[in-house]
Symmetry: none
Subunit: 195 residues, 4 copies
């Protein structure tokens, strides 16, 4: 029951942030959106900041789960890597709310330790997942392991940079097209190192 209520409030908060923006959201708004009283929010969360941190954690978890879903099942190395890059690049299109939430929180990282920790952990996990895929490629002899330690940051960084650009300006480019090019660049890079 407690978990249900917490999720109810978190989802209300997410809808509010998407609709009005992080800075403009009040506890009253969230309570109304979630269909509860303001008081109950303080029963389940220490304060507004605690709630917002839970929102971030929840969003990260959901996004992660969603992005992994399709990749998990794929075995062949190259196919798995390319599908993962595609997934990352397609987040802004397929889950635009996530970028809304993310952009709202990124500005807070520097000023809010809890937000910083949660965000750092999320980013590290993202890179780690890519690293693991690449490791498999190395182990199976497809690619050499040299010069691969930064590739995860590049893949995640590009995904994020494109996502933000596209969120700011949907007319900037075609995500589909750019994703293809980027996949090609990555393949070039890992095989060139190998040959």
């Amino acid at each position: 029951m407690e978990e249900i209520r917490k999720e109810q409030v978190i989802n209300g908060a997410i809808r509010c942030i998407i609709k009005k923006g992080f800075n403009q959201v009040s506890v009253k708004d969230i309570a109304a959106e979630a269909g509860v009283s303001t008081g109950i929010i303080y029963h389940y969360f220490r304060n507004k900041n605690d709630l917002l941190v839970q929102v971030l954690k929840y969003s990260f978890r959901k996004s992660h789960e969603q992005a992994m879903e399709t990749v998990e099942k794929i075995r062949p190395f190259e196919e798995k890597l390319l599908k993962h890059i595609e997934n990352i690049n397609f987040v802004p299109k397929e889950n635009p709310d996530f970028y809304s939430i993310l952009l709202n929180f990124l500005g807070q990282v520097k000023y809010n330790q809890a937000v910083e920790e949660v965000t750092q952990k999320f980013m590290r996990n993202l890179r780690l997942y890519v690293d693991r895929i690449l490791e498999v490629g190395v182990k199976q002899g497809y690619i050499k392991g040299d010069h691969l330690e930064c590739l995860s940051a590049i893949i995640i960084g590009l995904g994020m940079g494109l996502g933000i650009q596209w969120t700011i300006d949907k007319k900037a480019f075609s995500i589909d097209q750019i994703s293809e090019i980027f996949k090609e660049m990555v393949l070039n890079y890992i095989y060139k190192q190998t040959n």
Copy 2:
């Protein structure tokens, strides 16, 4: 005189935003930091939002000028392109305040039309600048023009994605190392298309 006062206030606002974060800054804070009264701020800016938009414009202009400075003088195509990529990648290290400011504003884009317009224009200019460099490369016969229309978004996107990752977590990777790899990836791509 008006310009001096405006810049004085804008710089106070920038210092405040960097120090306390966008959401936590009040007009009183800015006035105190700039060494003026709150009243005078309303003499030179329509309201707080107007001031913040001016801050964004000012930051974008300064960052742009700084990033261009070294590149402008370089003539040879490849050298110019690589130097520009390097410049973009090094912004978070050499001008970390810019990323502080940028991240503070990115969350507002969706909810504030003026911020949206200014940000969109800035991003377009960034891509345009890269496109121009590439165009010169095509004209001078170094590379073919096909498949280059998305490269600017990739270059800018990666710069931004790395900048944000690094701003969030300085231990994530070495900017220098990653910049080298990325430059290699870009060269691979443009010459492979050509040959």
Copy 3:
């Protein structure tokens, strides 16, 4: 059972008031301190104010019982009077919590009829008890009854005034020393009237 529960809650409330102060105590605090739920408090007490009035009554009764204990047994007039004065003067030292509680409630007397009535009754009983001792002294011929009607108020008043001073500032004076002097002043007064 009802009495046990009520006393359990009252004692929780007393500990809370001593620890945090009357104004700062919530029903939730009291429930937690007493080891019960908030709901049960409303089963045994009409509301928070009712509970607090019961706390006051209980404190007055306990303090009264404690102060009387030693005096009751003493028969000789002068010895009994002096011992009672001493008891009154020593309350702040021997039962400092009582003064904590008392001071917390005194400010409410004017604004809370129930508190006013309970406090007035307690103060009257205190004076009455002194009056009875003096009456015995008169009956037994030790002192004359003229000019004695105010002595109880003086004895109680001084006890209270010293208690409050000492509660505010333990370094203000030595209760033992002052009690001796005051006993002497009272004896001087009642025998001077007599001779």
Copy 4:
């Protein structure tokens, strides 16, 4: 101007406390009573507690000034001492608001350091003033200095104890009558020590 505004707010706060009681007073009440906006209170006082401490200081200062006024001019030792005792005893009648305020704050002493400090200082000054009068009596040879060090606490303590009793229950006794008796007790005591 700042001082006038501060006094305006303090007086509003005093009227509120007298009318509704310390615990029941809100900043909104005080603002309304003082005829200002709530915002301005935070312009002149750090917070509600700061304002209340200023109220206490102000009340203490005013009460002190008022009590001293008549005594200051009197030179002869005995007359001066008796007049001072009388003044102390008559405060509840002549300045009942002071006792209202005092009782409202006494309960806070233990839980509020600023209130504690201000109250301790006030009480010490009260005793000091009595001590100075007695010193003069000693110097001029009217009385001996032995056994006088506690007399100030007794005089202040009785004044306070009677004041509180009378504030709680006006029918308890006649202040005039009791003041006469107490003055007699003090004279007995100081001269008995002398002869």
